[in-house]
């Protein structure tokens, strides 16, 4: 019986995993676009609220010369790869790692939203979209892990 319990890997809801992958993909699209714009010389325009330029050209838009958009793109693609790896191999350790990592995105998002609201006093819609993706990923991560724990207890 004991052995049985150990063999039983925590079950992850496939729906949650797919949703996680979807948001990682959305986040990647967004961050990749910002990265490409960062390396081009055109200003990022987003209509009436000109906050985009202020934010994406601010001193906070790069850490030691590396644009944060690029870091974001790598982060999202990392989560996406882990999700696909899980879907391919059904290795739940990998998925649990991805779910845990989503906390990094939440912390980073809180920091960047704070910067936009209180320091730059300008909002960039693409950056907010990334913050929303990251937060959603974290929430899915919470639910995913809780669901998995439940099945273990059962």
């Amino acid at each position: 019986m004991q052995l049985q319990m150990q063999e039983q890997t925590p079950q992850l809801s496939k729906k949650l995993v797919l949703l996680f992958g979807l948001f990682a993909f959305i986040g990647f699209l967004d961050a990749a676009y910002l990265t490409v714009v960062h390396f081009s010389d055109i200003p990022l325009l987003c209509g009436a609220n000109s906050g985009c330029e202020t934010v994406t050209t601010s001193v906070y838009s790069a850490i030691a010369g590396i644009p944060v958009a690029l870091l974001g793109a790598l982060y999202y693609i990392g989560l996406l790869f882990l999700t696909i790896f899980y879907l391919d191999r059904k290795n739940s350790t990998v998925m649990h790692l991805a779910l845990r990592l989503s906390a990094i995105g939440l912390v980073a998002s809180l920091y960047f939203v704070g910067l936009q609201l209180f320091v730059l006093k300008a909002l960039c819609i693409y950056c907010m979209a990334s913050a929303i993706s990251s937060t959603t990923l974290f929430v899915i991560g919470l639910f995913g892990r809780r669901a998995a724990l439940k099945t273990v207890v059962q």
């Binding site: 990749a32 676009y33 490409v36 081009s40 200003p43 696909i84 391919d88």
Partner: protein
């Protein structure tokens, strides 16, 4: 020979085991193929997306007009701010209903106020009527106010209040109200806004913009040369400083 010694039951079991093994082998290779396909597609999609984004951004920035000498200069018919003999002529083609133009309005205002004797600024109409239904009328409102000497006052008012009228169905009454707030002769304003003279003034400049293939609004022309819209006020100052330096260099060599 040996097979004969096995019972039928054993033979069956052996066959079944062999079949199962083959199946498992198949499954294994099947899974490997699926794995490879999954990762290949993933990588392909990601590379495709990045390439697509690069193309998209590059296309939106490839503006063949950048740096092109349009041969435009400020004329006596233009509405201008600054010294007539200023070394730098800045022409803006703009649309009163365009949000980017409203955003640039404060930038332009600030920059030209910093170089009062170096920059002569002119506003020209380029109403993008397909996307901005009130742009043409707003242009005419500014022209009609101009007849009574208050072009710039109306120009500022239109940009500053843009958000409040842009989405309205009808704006004419509001523009008349603006005219009265600016202390204009309202009867005259109402007649002028629909006059051929005013319509032609707006239309003529729009035609000029279209003939130049200006990509949109606002479009800035500095001493005849089309420049890419500066992403910040500092970048705008740099363009003006450059133009002043170039104009200075030209006159010293002459």
């Amino acid at each position: 020979m040996e097979n004969n010694t096995l019972s039928k039951k054993q033979q069956k079991r052996l066959a079944r085991a062999a079949k199962k093994q083959a199946q498992m082998q198949n499954q294994k290779t099947g899974r490997a193929v699926k794995s490879t396909a999954t990762w290949a597609i993933t990588l392909l999609v990601i590379v495709g997306i990045v390439y697509g984004l690069v193309l998209l951004v590059r296309n939106s920035s490839t503006n063949e007009l950048i740096g092109v000498d349009t041969d435009l200069s400020i004329e006596s018919t233009d509405w201008t701010i600054g010294e007539a003999e200023a070394p730098v002529q800045l022409i803006e083609f703009s649309d009163f209903q365009c949000p980017a133009c409203a955003a640039y309005h404060s930038v332009v205002k600030q920059v030209i106020s910093e170089y009062p004797s170096d920059v002569l600024f002119a506003y020209r109409h380029y109403p993008l009527s397909q996307i901005h239904p009130h742009a043409e009328l707003a242009g005419r409102a500014a022209e009609a106010a101009g007849i009574q000497g208050k072009f710039w006052e109306m120009h500022d008012k239109l940009f500053e209040t843009q958000a409040s009228w842009s989405a309205r169905a009808s704006v004419k009454d509001l523009f008349v109200e603006f005219a009265s707030e600016l202390g204009l002769d309202v009867t005259r304003f109402e007649a002028d806004i629909d006059s051929d003279e005013v319509k032609d003034a707006v239309e003529g400049e729009a035609l000029q913009a279209r003939a130049l293939n200006l990509p949109g609004t606002p479009s800035f022309i500095v001493n005849g040369v089309y420049v890419q819209n500066p992403p910040s006020i500092d970048a705008f100052r740099a363009i003006i400083e450059d133009a002043i330096a170039n104009a200075g260099a030209d006159t010293t060599t002459e």
